[in-house]
Amino acid sequence: MIDDSIIKEHGLTQEEYKRITALIKREPNLTELGIFSLMWSEHCSYKSSKIHLKNYPTSGKNVIQGPGENAGIIDIGNGLAVVFKIESHNHPSFIEPYQGAATGVGGILRDIFTMGARPIATLNSLRFGPLSVPKNKTVMEGVVSGIAGYGNSIGVPTVGGETYFDECYSLNPLVNVFCLGIAKKDKIFYSRAEGIGNPVLYVGSKTGRDGIHGATMASAEFGEDLEQKRPNVQVGDPFKEKLLLEACLEVMEKNLALGIQDMGAAGLTCSTTEMAANSGTGIEIDINLIPQREQGMTPYEIMLSESQERMLIVAQKEKVKQAQSVFAKWDLDAVIIGHVTDTQNLKVKSGDKTVVDLPLRAIINQCPVYNREAKPPAPPAPIIDLNDISFPENYEQAFLQIIKSPGLADKQWIFRQYDHMVQTNTTVLPGADASVLRIKNTNKALAVTLDGNSLYTYVNPRSGGIIAVSEACRNLACVGAKPVGVTNCLNFGNPEKSEIMWQFKEAVHGIAQACKAFQIPVTGGNVSFYNETEGIPIYPTAVLGVVGVIDALDKIMTPEFKAPGDTILLLGENKEELGASEYMNHIHSKKGGPPPEIDLRKEKRVQSLCLKAISKNMIKSAHDLSEGGLAQCLAECCLLGKKRIGCRINLEDKIRTDALLFGETQSRILISLEEDQEDAFKSLAGKRKVPYSIIGKTGGENILIKHLGEKIINIPVQKVYSLWKYSLPGFFKIE
């Protein structure tokens, strides 16, 4: 009997339960209730977010697949397509950092190769609480090892990403994993169950009791009982996934599959129902045929298990033997567990007994859609009045303090745990504005970046959304790439609270607005709500993943200064903006708005100038200004790369020195070029109406910055390097 407490345990409301009984015209049994609870969970159904996500631009002439499939697909020419997506694995990573993060990688990889693409890179966006708290270090160490453990073993390079630290992530760290794959345009596979009577193949790991209710868990806040949630986290087996990857790609290459979907969140339930629903067919499986890891599993457990490294394939009858032999070559189980029907139903049998019989429409299409109340928070996020902010007594100290803050310090401690070179495509290593991967046997390269400043989004969700897209595109422009597609991971608190819903709605509108301005389609992504523990939400964190194309391998740009004596130019304008900055956070311990202004027309002009200058071989380095402002950007240009060249800078703007050094005004790029290119560049910038200033020269052993003739920073590059380089490892030292 289904009673109120069982309904509640399954994360369903009374209204939702009533809707279910009305739809199926009877009471569901427990297994059926479990199926609804998964498919109607926020994680699988997008019931609170759908209504807003509609605002995204999703089409374009190069879009092969927009949102709604396992991943988005964009045509990049040469008969090739890029397949990419970002997913969150926040909740599991907090409960069990290593396995939570590892299976996050495993899941997103499957989303990519299930479409016929070979994964060529992953990136990740990580958010932790401050490293001064031991528990946060444990979580971070576990997450990084987990990502490394899975990615390194399977042989997909982890080529970059971002790491932020803030108190709001102490009880709710974020692990967002992005994966990019390449497929032949004419060899793309979809989640389909076609051809009545065709066999349904179960491939990969056996089903166990792990991860039962993972999707439901990810759709609720954590309370004090979170330690008890550990059994909900799955355990990853990258070796098995490697076999699955190679075998599936071989099966697809040989055209032995009609449709394929991985068993990710909601496992067998999600893959069977979605494949059949996508084709307007039905599906029937026998639970007793499912390979099982342990004895005595109930249909409920089998249907809800989230055991990893499993795929569901529909094949033509006459080809199924051939497909099975490919899997046998790779030592994988490939068992026929059922067939495609014309019933538009999901039927699960246990031998002769029917244990589930549900209309697919009810499961997939008739989940309620909510237009939840959205109201700005009261009081609103704080605003900082610059008149109340005193100047630092010592700019050098402030500069060094910012440089060595974990969010802005060197991330090699993380990156070197990842195999970022396997597959031999990584041309720009992690740490630059964007990671660059050449495409073998072509003259093209792909650039990828993840971006999202959650403090901006907290103080102004709409600006935060716009800036996240703009900065990601600016990162691409700095390496010489034009953006072609966007995916996004939206991490927010409890959507049932009106202020959270408001943040969400505003951020989505901001992202939509910016994507429209840049004319780049959003091809999918993931929404992660309920990032709250004990009622405290994270900052709204919208992570944008943008993929770009570089048309010639000799037009790849990098951020570091290349030689002494080059001219340093700053594109864009310097404004007196310090709201939501790292400077305010670290030097004045203040977190408040307003965020930097953003004008998308100006932004586009700056980016297109940068791209043009790169394509004309005018410039030798380009680096975007973001967190930490001009000072941080200059330092990175000196520190990245092997030569570590200093700089001499004269700033003439008549604004506050701290704003000039550390303000995070948008739409700025720092470039360096040879003196004899100056005139050509100036005329190009003039034509394109981009303001710029020549601010100094590269060279010397020091980072020297003057403002209105006064020397404010003069520190040896080597000293800055040591602080920047050894900050993060210092937290994790093995004595």
Binding site: S145, A148, G149, N152, S153, I154, G155, D237, P238, F239, K240, K242, L243, K329, W330, D331, Q412, F415, R416, Q417, Y418, D419, H420, M421, V422, Q423, T424, T426, T427, L429, R438, K440, N441, L553, I734
Partner: protein, 232 residues
């Protein structure tokens, strides 16, 4: 020249090695499936990097039982050129074709980074194109690359001049800092007594194209090609 690249379940540098040999060095290169018993007339057999069988046990400990290893062993005993890169090196140790063993890196973390390697001897099929003391820039990517061998073993490989590559500074000095994984005597690569089998932790296939930052891997592959063409 024919290069056979062994594919174990879990190999993940197989395609990289194939790419470099085929498209950069313009050689005949092909995969050898671990379950087969056929080296397809290869002049050189390469055991590539990766995580054979997931390396859940000691790295390389299961791969040594793959059927094809019987042929690889015979091939090496008859003087055939065998190169084990990273996981391939670990497999060669497990197979007993090279002496010693691998421990976890000294910092207990996976390490992926560019390192400097000093060529210790050029009297091998793998380094004849280099100069003694020459420093190469080639990346590593491993968890278990901390080479270990007992005292008498070390004496022996030293006496026989079997140490081919050592982790060093850019100037060729041996320092604790540059010996990133903690290998005994900074050993990064060594040959067997007959000098026809090389195991090395660094990845020469990742350092063979300018676009990827270093071409120093050419020394290794060019040497093998030269040796097979001329000396044999």
């Amino acid at each position: 020249m024919r290069f056979g690249i062994v594919v174990f379940p879990g190999s993940n540098c197989d395609y990289d090695t194939l790419h470099v040999l085929k498209y950069v060095f313009k050689q005949e290169a092909f995969f050898l499936w671990h379950k087969d018993h056929d080296l397809k007339n290869a002049d050189c057999v390469i055991l590539p990097g990766g995580f054979s069988y997931g390396d859940y046990l000691r790295s390389g400990a299961i791969a040594r039982f793959s059927p094809l290893m019987q042929e690889v062993k015979e091939f090496s005993l008859s003087g055939g050129i065998v190169l084990g890169i990273c996981n391939g090196f670990q497999v060669l140790l497990e197979l007993g074709l090279l002496p010693g063993a691998m421990l976890r890196n000294k910092n207990l973390k996976f390490l992926c980074q560019n390192v400097h390697l000093r060529i210790e001897t050029t009297d091998t099929p793998f380094t004849n194109k280099g100069k003694p003391g020459q420093v190469l820039n080639i990346p590593i990517a491993h968890f278990d690359g901390n080479y270990y061998i007992d005292g008498p073993g070390l004496d022996k490989i030293k006496k026989n001049n079997q140490i081919l590559l050592r982790y060093s500074s850019a100037e060729g000095h041996l320092t604790k800092e540059d010996n990133v994984n903690g290998s005994l005597d900074c050993i990064a690569g060594l040959v067997n007594e007959n000098r026809n089998v090389l195991g090395m932790m660094p990845h020469p296939e990742r350092a063979s194209e300018t676009l990827l930052g270093s071409r120093d891997g050419h020394i290794i592959f060019d040497s093998i090609i030269y040796y097979i063409k001329n000396d044999r």
